[in-house]
Symmetry: C2
Subunit: 478 residues, 2 copies
């Protein structure tokens, strides 16, 4: 019997690959998925909205249950950690509930995802969190839920880490929290905590929030956070978590040079980023790229024969620079996994590039970005960037609901090629980034984008859509 | 002194050209704009929302007042109709309030727009309307406004045709209206009349509404119209307007073969389309295309030297077929006018192509289209079309507000090139068409579109945006 297609990791990339492989396979090979945890196929990006209470149950955020996965014919082994790869022998070493064993493979996909980095903080005291995955979300929801109304999740699934949830079951809702980091997680959790009545102090070491979104979009988001009562400490670094009786009691920080005393808080959420989870490949001579994530070619193939990588643990080709980059995002993971599944099944399929397209909500504000928004990043990639920022209406000015939409576009001075852009506003601003993302995928110049026949109808867009206004101005400035 | 740049028509294309010319001109030529009516620079597309009452004043829909236009240095002559062109002598014949005269030009732009067609109906009886321009809008608003509250427009401008408004000032709000034609105007006015408490019968001779939007989008719109109480007579033709005492009293129609009696209504709105207004060029040997609109090259030049045409009276290059086509839309007019202004000022500038991108609102429903949506149109242009229609969520399924979004995409079977698409739904469906429009401008294949890195964030889009879902399915079906 032929050895199976083995997948390490039971989330977006891994299960997309396994499912696609089974649909398309030309042989009788099985697919085995090892997942070291209890959760499979869930939506990381939804967790802030679960903590906020907009999503009722953890199970709402799972795309497939373990039964669904097995119903597809996938041999799913939860609580099985792949602890070593031996590509020379075509086996992986697995630690499961009943001990360790070698699992042979014909093809192997490493889809181990990413892990939250802690910024060097000790997160063992009560009230200290990161948010990366369902158990963090469950614990945070328990934290912000009054003791007599545990979780509001009538359906708390078996997979959840109950010890962590119970740690906060009788914990009063914090009066205040320090959010460390002003990226997606920080911004989204600032909204979630505020909605729960928690006073939020958001600390961001760089001089603006959401650095990859560019200055104009970050300013829009900052304004909305402040208007909603979030205390912003931009340019402020949390240097230490202070505890009392084993619980978070304050943060030391350099945000107020004239008042260096620690800020009392009841909890801390550290959202300073994630890192690729590459531990299983560490000793297997599978090359990693400069980003630290696993290096792959256009088909998701690593440096080792028959070993693929996809999702948050792997690099991908950036559509603007053409270089490999690490841009861990949900669509990229799903698409790359699906492509690897098709390739392993017999139809070589490219994983597609990434433009780093992303969107974030901050109360009423929406912000989105794609490509190279930062002039510095563009220069580093060998371009000579020229940028413009404009503000235009989201609808015809006379139509109810028209709102300011801020667009930044960046192009290469020499060739006119569009390099990236960001959009912020309150009225359908985020979804407009898809215009920019599509133009980047096509390699359009800003002059070509200016000529695109975008929709005009008073309830939806003004005659000159905000993206066209920006393209027109930028084309004129070149 | 050099003869001026003369523009015929004071709306989107004409004033865009005049303004751009004055900003960029390298010489001291003046620009003269002849407008045969009293209105300049107004938003045709906003008029249904004025009738509905969402737009308060007619003046809200004007982009520039006559004073603004003159403030830009444009010599604006309202109530001046250009009645003949003499390109051989470089003059136009103008009929103004003080008689006729010859106006010499150095360059000439014909931007005479379009006119509503009446479908052969006599629209002289009281209660019979088309909607094309501000005076129609003012009369219709007077019709749907109770006699004691004339127009609700505190600011009724001087330019308005007061005779027409006063005709309906004491007219009771109709109980029912027949809307003839199920295109943009028909659909938007069905919403406007309904909002005013008028019972609407919408007659559409073809077998579906909004023919250029394709079947799936039309079905979504039809469902929403019916849910809002609009009586649809699809496949039903109005054959005659019946009057009593000089006022509309009923329509004869073939919509109910088993009940051929006329349908009593208090008013009729005929919205069966528009035609290019090319009368001034009729005897001037300026070529028209097969569409009946003025033929132009990529710079808006007609068959006569130094005579340009732009806007609703002119053809434009269709980005998918590469052929000249007549697609009268607001952005096209603005862009082409601006390009001609730049060209006449000394910088040859292409007018840009059209994809026929359009969007329409019908109560809560939004529909949009771009390119060749209809397989028949695609076949006529030499393509071998393959289409798919999918329904996907507008946001992550677990996120509040997620709504069904229906996407149709059409590609060429042989090359995979994207030919067009339509989108309908209730949650930011229309603005997503810009992804399709951008892909069409870039000439992308459906496989390339499938790989675009569109935004994913639970409040805004699911992992696979509806357009990507459609592209994925269509790429798989090819």
């Amino acid at each position: 019997m032929t050895d199976p297609f083995v997948v390490v990791g039971g989330d977006a990339a891994g299960l997309s690959a396994a499912s696609k492989f089974l649909r398309d396979r030309a042989d009788d090979r099985d697919v085995v998925v090892f997942e070291r945890g209890a959760w499979v196929s869930y939506a990381h990006c939804g967790t802030p909205y679960y903590v906020k209470g907009e999503v009722e149950s953890l199970l709402d955020m799972t795309t497939l249950s373990p039964d669904d996965v097995e119903g597809r014919g996938i041999d799913l082994r939860r609580d099985h950690e792949v602890i070593a790869l031996h590509p020379d022998r075509d086996v992986v070493r697995v630690a499961g509930p009943d001990g360790e064993f070698d699992q042979p493979f014909s093809d192997l996909l490493v889809a181990t995802g990413a892990r939250a980095v802690t910024g060097g903080f000790d997160l063992s005291p009560a009230g200290a969190f990161t948010l990366h995955g369902m158990d963090d979300a469950a614990a945070l929801r328990a934290l912000v839920t009054p003791p007599n109304d545990p979780l509001e999740d009538g359906d708390l699934p078996d997979a959840v880490d109950r010890t962590r949830v119970e740690r906060y079951a009788n914990h009063p809702v914090p009066d205040s929290v320090a959010v460390v980091g002003g990226g997606y997680v920080g911004v989204e959790m600032a909204e979630a905590f505020t909605a729960r009545g928690v006073d939020v102090h958001l600390f961001q070491r760089p001089d603006r929030l959401l650095v990859p979104f560019g200055e104009a979009a970050a300013d829009v988001v900052a304004d909305h956070l402040e208007a909603a009562g979030v205390h912003l400490h931009v340019g402020g670094e949390v240097t230490e978590l202070l505890t009392a009786d084993g619980r978070v009691s304050a943060v030391a920080h350099d945000g107020h040079p004239d008042d260096p005393s620690p800020l009392p808080v009841d909890a801390v959420l550290v959202g300073v980023g994630i890192a690729p989870a590459v531990a299983p490949v560490a000793d297997a001579e599978v090359d990693c790229g400069g980003s630290g994530a696993i290096a792959v070619d256009r088909y998701g193939r690593t440096s080792r024969d028959r070993v693929y990588a996809a999702g948050d643990c792997a690099e991908a080709r950036h559509v603007v620079t053409g270089e490999q980059a690490w841009v861990p995002l949900g669509l990229t993971a799903n698409r790359a996994g699906r492509a690897v599944g098709a390739t392993v099944a017999g139809t070589p399929t490219q994983t597609g590039g990434v433009a780093g397209t992303a969107a974030v909500k901050a109360f009423d504000a929406e912000a989105a970005r794609s490509g190279l928004v930062d002039d510095e990043a563009a220069r580093a990639a060998g371009f000579e960037p020229v940028s413009t920022t404009i503000t235009a209406g989201s609808r015809s000015g006379y139509y109810p609901g028209a709102a300011e939409t801020t667009v930044t576009l960046t192009a290469d001075q020499g060739t006119g090629r569009l390099l990236g852009g960001s959009i912020a506003g309150t009225d359908r601003a985020a979804v407009r980034i898809d215009t920019v993302a599509t133009a980047l995928e096509a390699g359009m110049t800003v002059d070509e984008l200016e000529r695109a026949d975008l929709a005009y109808a008073p309830p939806f867009s003004p005659v000159w859509d905000p993206v066209l206004v920006a393209a027109k101005v930028l084309a004129g400035e070149r």
